[in-house]
């Protein structure tokens, strides 16, 4: 039997600190669904998803009940659709998106990712048709998420695709103007996109993966925040408490959180007979009060998120989370770090409203954490080339630093800096972030071609 204090601290973590499994995501390979007609291809896709994921949601709920830990989201990721539909045209891809939406609804998952293409070096005719379909496809569907990988450390940046991305983001927002441009919240542009990330909107089932796998996303910024507060307020020698002890607390807490996720993920995997993939321990905030990454910055010593020191804090947090998660799990993958999605984190959104957090500081912070400029609401008047250029800067950070970076910007139609936008639920709300130097990057975007891959030595 375990010691009573161990038992009580675990009970505390589950009960009072929002411990949950953020998502169990089933990756399904759809490459064998391609048929000679779009109708047959769509019916193959629907059949395959239903046959693999028919019992998925019920099994997750059953395990969640058995272990008393909520599994918040049940999701599906599929093979990048541009590969599944090789040779199809724009309207065919819209049909595939509708099919995916229907299948996701039929099996009861919350969201489905993988309406995606990988074009880091060049685009095929199919890729162009696919990208052209994204605004209409996402406007016509509810649960489908799209992502495009336009850069990798090994191949550099595809500048032709980059130039299109600004327009795709703008079109997505404008086609969903009545919902505040919500369509853009379902679309991410990536550098070094992982094929086993369970978090949305960027989840795909990479072509390197098996037929079907289960990946688990565990989160828990609330658990980390409460553990730090406890350490700070109950420390026997407060004057001796230093930064490394705080890092250690984050590491140990992360270990415990990851273990719970792995336990449930493996139980679901065994029950469904589907291979277990990875645990992705990422601090992904939700708009719920007390489940914020921004709050951790304040606990760790800056009075405003974005103040000098914020980047260093995030670097420590991201690293401590990785160390705890990697030791805890047999197989770690996906992104595994800290997210800073502005709209989904009430404290970050507040910092934007107060003016302490600006685009440039966010960009700096993404150098040391997972993902990138995520869920940032910007004025609807920002032009497509400026959006592409913001994406370019973020892609360059990923290429040079050999890490995943991503951009999910929402140019909210009809709104300007300081106005508010609210998507409700997990997508959250935020004031619109002001963008400086709008309209000054068009000549750069117009070059097209490629940004060459960087040299991998002489790292200074």
């Amino acid at each position: 039997m375990l010691r009573s204090d161990q038992i009580l601290s675990t009970v505390e973590m589950i009960q009072k600190e929002n411990l949950d499994v953020r998502t169990v995501t089933m990756g399904i390979n759809l490459l064998d669904c391609r048929s000679d007609t779009i109708a047959k291809t769509c019916s193959n896709i629907e059949e395959k998803i239903i046959s693999f994921a028919g019992n998925f949601v019920a099994t997750c709920n059953e395990m969640s009940k058995k272990y008393g830990i909520p599994v918040v989201n049940k999701r599906i990721s599929v093979t990048p659709v541009a590969m599944v539909g090789a040779g199809f045209e724009k309207n065919d891809f819209i049909e595939i998106a509708k099919t995916l939406d229907r299948a996701a609804g039929a099996v009861g998952v919350d969201i489905l990712g993988g309406f995606s293409a990988q074009v880091e070096k060049g685009m095929t005719q199919t890729d162009r048709e696919f990208i052209a379909s994204i605004p209409d496809a996402l406007a016509a569907t509810e649960k489908v998420c799209a992502s495009i990988n336009i850069a990798t450390t090994n191949k550099g940046i595809n500048m032709d695709a980059l130039a299109i991305m600004g327009h795709t983001v703008k079109d997505l927002a404008e086609k969903t103007a009545d919902q505040g441009g919500f369509g853009a919240a379902k679309f991410v542009v990536f550098c070094n996109q992982p094929g086993d990330n369970p978090f949305m909107a960027g989840a795909i089932h990479g072509v390197e993966e098996a037929e079907a796998v289960l990946n688990v996303g565990v989160s828990g910024p609330g658990v980390i925040a409460r553990a730090l507060e406890r350490l700070i307020s109950n420390h026997p020698f407060p004057a001796n408490l230093q930064f490394d002890e705080l890092a250690e607390e984050i590491k140990q807490t992360t270990f415990r959180v990851t273990r719970c996720g792995e336990l449930i993920g493996r139980a679901v995997s065994m029950s469904l007979g589907i291979e277990f993939g990875v645990v992705d321990l990422s601090l992904a905030p939700t708009p719920t009060v007390g489940d914020s990454v921004g709050e951790i910055f304040k606990i760790l010593g800056v009075d405003a998120v974005g103040a000098p020191g914020s980047t260093a804090i995030l670097a420590m947090l991201n690293d401590a989370v990785k160390k705890g998660g990697i030791f805890a799990s047999k197989t770690v993958g996906g992104l595994s770090g800290a997210f800073i999605p502005v709209m989904e984190d009430s404290v970050l959104a507040e910092a934007v409203g107060e003016g302490s957090l600006c685009l440039e500081k966010l960009e700096a912070m993404t150098c040391v954490c997972s993902v990138g400029l995520d869920m940032v609401a910007i004025p609807g008047s920002v032009d497509a080339d400026t959006i592409s250029a913001i994406i370019a800067d973020e892609m360059a950070l990923g290429v040079i630093n050999a890490k995943t970076t991503a951009v999910r910007l929402i140019p909210v139609p009809g709104k300007e800096a300081g106005d508010e936008v609210n998507f409700g639920g997990l997508f959250g709300a935020s004031p619109i972030l002001p963008i400086k130097n709008v309209g000054k990057s068009s000549r750069f975007i117009a070059w097209g071609g490629r940004m060459p891959a960087p040299v991998h030595s002489f790292k200074n």
């Binding site: 038992i7 009970v11 047999k330």
Partner: protein, 186 residues
Amino acid sequence: MEKQMIVSVMSKDRPGIIAGITGAIFRLGGDVADLNQTVLCGYLTMILSVSFEPSTTKEDVLAAISHIKTESKFEVSIKELTEGELAEAVLPPEETYILTVQGPNRGGIVHGISLFCYERNINILDLATTLEADQYTMALQLDLKNCTCSLEVLREELEKHASSSGLTIMMQHNDIFQVTNEVTLH
């Protein structure tokens, strides 16, 4: 075949009790497989699982222990395990849950919870309690294998019991505690 015995000893606590008892067992050729002991209010109680040669009897063990020189008397009881009992699994069953109960100290808390378990045919595998600043905390390891109701109903009834008794009651699967507190991944 070896003979398996369960030996239980209670005595006023002092240094040397375990050394004395295990010494007596060793001299009889016994092998201690498992031992559990705890001290409460200055009294020690110890339970040992020991295997002996087939020729050793309960009376031999009792005599060996009674020869130990001690100021306070040992209260000893010994039970020989049958073959059927030996075959029973020693690992906690899959349906092992941990129940924690917390609240201001008053009479009847342990009885209330243990009666609750008994009425549903739930076996208590282990139980530890602590009293600190008038807050009473119980942690129970439960076997729900033969529980008469479903997990869902049990949780509802626990909630009712919690609200009527003013206690904070939580039940979580044993595995959760194991994976969050032990390094080995099962």
